[in-house]
């Protein structure tokens, strides 16, 4: 590292990125998918696909709870919304203490009231947890590794901004079909245009891992956490008479919901009933009505009604205790998109895709730039082969993960574990294959395989789900149709990439064949790109 500041930053940017690029790509990719982890889990549990939101959902939910949880101290109903097609119920038995945050849970079809038994799946939660604590190693160690990688990413972002000579002049510039220039432009444009997101997501990720990276700072908070063994005050209410279903349905719950929705201008998402069926029953309605991120997870206000349908309390949104708590809350909410409606979630997803492209193109750029000088050297070949396995291989593993979810028997023991095993098995095979075929052939094979996997996902979905895609389209199941469309889009992008790489090979093959009988040494020299043709060696 010598020379002026820009040269030093270039050195720092290059080496800080290349050392962690493969893991960073996996973190960015799985993290971006995690913005839709609920939707991914929904797709991976096809038993849910028969559920269709209905106006009868509330009535059916109340009937179910009155029959199955008559002595509960509290009922919780989560109504179908933009991220869920089902009616989710839970209740808390009166004699259970606070050590359990939630009691029994069931999922109902909101149009029929039938209970839905879903298959065991790792779902979107596996991708979510992988992106910040990896898998198969101690959680703390995994978080440490991700923390170090995040810090390196942060260094790479800052050094990348400093080293970028024409950050404003080339702000919108992308020059396709210009070999090395195209890779540089692709890397720069995906980095610069979404720079606010990249800084936010990296910095907030570090803050969220703060308790692991700075454990001495969180000990007191853990020590003072309530142990929650005391029994709730309303335990005495157990074993009283069962609530009368007709009396329950006669309550003005619909008018409560209408009142809350007109007040907030957003749909009511959940209804909590304490002391159900009793004269002192209270109905707490909540929805995604938050206006502040700094308020944290309790940032939505709620309305509490009595059995007569009168508002007896307006539970305000929580407020951060101080500026540092507010800052933490803000970053936490942003990173995990807990506040996000559909539009904001897609915007964050789009920025995440740009981040994934930035990391991927950066890793490929390292190889393209050095192909001329370092072809055949161990370190170069190591990075070259690893790029294939870590980028295209991860795509294959993710596609295979969705496939195996549908192909494994629904009642298989440890089913979610098998899904994860297959995910890593495919990835491992791709990494090994990447080292064996380190040239364009490796890219074409793996990109082509991933293309096929993702392109056939809608067909797989149609065949293996209890209801076909026609049912989903007819009933406006945007979650399922959206997932399949995204798979098709990804397949198109991967297919284009495979086609592009294959074409580059054809161009090069003509050049090699035009040389008469080259000896092996000469052939290696000819394989080395001549300036502009360096992209043929990604």
């Amino acid at each position: 590292m010598k020379g002026n500041v820009r040269k030093s930053m270039t050195w720092l940017h290059t080496w800080s990125s290349v050392l962690v690029g493969w893991l960073l790509f996996a973190i960015f990719f799985t993290g971006t998918l995690s913005f839709f982890r609920t939707e991914i889990t929904y797709w991976m549990q096809p038993e849910q696909h028969a559920a269709v939101p209905s106006e009868k959902a509330l009535e059916l939910g109340l009937r179910y709870l009155a029959i199955n949880a008559p002595n509960a101290s509290e009922w919780q109903l989560s109504l179908p919304d933009a991220r869920s097609q089902t009616l989710d119920l839970s209740w808390r038995d009166a004699n259970v203490g606070n050590e359990r945050r939630r009691g029994p849970r069931v999922m109902l079809n909101p149009s029929t009231g039938e209970e839905i038994k879903v298959r065991e799946t790792a779902g979107g939660n596996f991708l979510y947890r992988f992106h910040f604590e990896l898998y198969g190693i101690d959680r703390t160690v995994g978080r440490w590794i991700v923390g170090v990688v995040s810090m390196t990413m942060f260094v790479a972002i800052i050094s990348g901004v400093i080293m970028h000579r024409k950050i404003f002049a080339d702000f919108f510039m992308f020059r396709p079909k210009k070999k090395l220039l195209s890779w540089i432009d692709g890397h720069a444009i995906s980095a610069v245009l979404a720079l606010p997101f990249h800084i936010m997501i990296t910095f907030s990720g570090l803050i969220l891992l703060g308790a692991t990276l700075l454990p001495f700072n969180s000990e007191e908070r853990v020590r003072n956490r309530p142990q929650g063994t005391e029994v709730r005050q309303n335990a005495q209410q157990q074993n009283l008479a069962s609530p009368d279903i007709n009396a329950l349905l006669a309550l003005p719950i619909s008018s409560m919901i209408a009142h809350a929705e007109s007040t907030w201008q957003v749909p009511v998402e959940s209804l909590s009933i304490s002391h159900p069926g009793k004269a002192n029953a209270q109905f707490t309605l909540s929805g995604n009505n938050r206006t502040q991120l700094s308020a944290g997870r309790g940032g939505s206000s709620a309305l509490v009604f009595n059995a007569q349908g009168e508002v007896i309390n307006e539970r305000p949104a929580s407020v951060a205790a101080n500026a540092s708590q507010a800052t933490y809350n803000y970053l936490d909410m942003l990173h995990q998109a807990r506040f996000a409606d559909t539009l904001t979630r897609w915007l964050l997803f789009f920025a995440g895709i740009l981040g994934t492209i930035m990391v991927g193109t950066g890793s490929v750029l390292w190889v393209v730039k050095r192909a001329k000088q370092q072809l055949g050297e161990f370190s170069f070949e190591l990075v070259r082969g690893s790029n294939i396995g870590s980028i295209a291989g991860l795509m294959c593993a993710t596609g295979g993960y969705f496939w195996v979810n549908r192909l494994l028997p629904a009642d298989l023991t440890s089913r979610s574990l098998w899904e994860i095993k297959v995910f890593f098995a495919i990835w491992l095979v791709c990494v090994v294959a990447g080292f064996i075929w380190r040239d364009r052939k490796g890219w074409v094979i793996q990109l082509g395989f991933a293309t096929v996997l993702f392109a056939l996902v809608p067909l797989l979905d149609h065949v293996t789900s209890a209801t076909g895609l026609d049912f989903a389209i007819a009933n406006g199941d945007s979650l399922r149709v959206g997932f399949d469309l995204m798979c098709l889009t990804l397949a198109a992008v991967l297919g284009y990439a495979a086609y592009h790489v294959k074409r580059a090979k054809a161009v090069k093959a003509r050049r090699v064949n035009s040389t008469p009988s080259p000896k092996r040494k000469d052939r290696v020299r000819q394989d080395k790109p001549q300036g502009k043709n360096s992209e043929a060696l990604i």
């Binding site: 702000f171 991120l293 539009l343 904001t344 915007l347």
Partner: protein
């Protein structure tokens, strides 16, 4: 429906603002009626107009989503718009030219500025 219109309105403003900013680049300006290298005065005018449109877009987002969430949505729209401006210039230069020449009235005031 109103929120959809709000989103479209905010996005169109951010897209137009990035079109204006891109005209400060000589390669971008070169395919419009601004065939000369943009002068410092022209760049100032373009930037002022762009920031004005961005400010309206920001106000609109804050009005709909309140300050904290509105700013997040606005930044997201900025990122999307900037990528689409870049894609329009790269893959659909004819559309880029038409948008700049007629929607942003470059055809009208471009030659006048160029003559100076």
């Amino acid at each position: 429906m109103s929120i959809v219109l709000d989103v479209v309105f905010a996005f169109v403003l951010t897209y137009l603002s990035f079109l204006l900013l891109s005209l400060g680049n000589k390669k971008h300006a070169g395919i419009t009626r601004l065939t000369s290298i943009p002068s410092p005065l022209l760049i100032i005018v373009l930037h002022c107009l762009a920031y004005f449109l961005m400010a309206i877009s920001l106000i609109n987002c804050i009005d709909v989503w309140k300050t904290e969430i509105g700013v997040v949505v606005w930044v997201g729209l900025l990122q999307l718009a900037s990528v689409l401006v870049s894609a329009t210039f790269t893959y659909f230069p004819a559309i880029y030219t038409v948008l700049c020449n007629y929607l942003l009235l470059v055809a009208f005031w471009g030659p006048r500025l160029r003559e100076k």
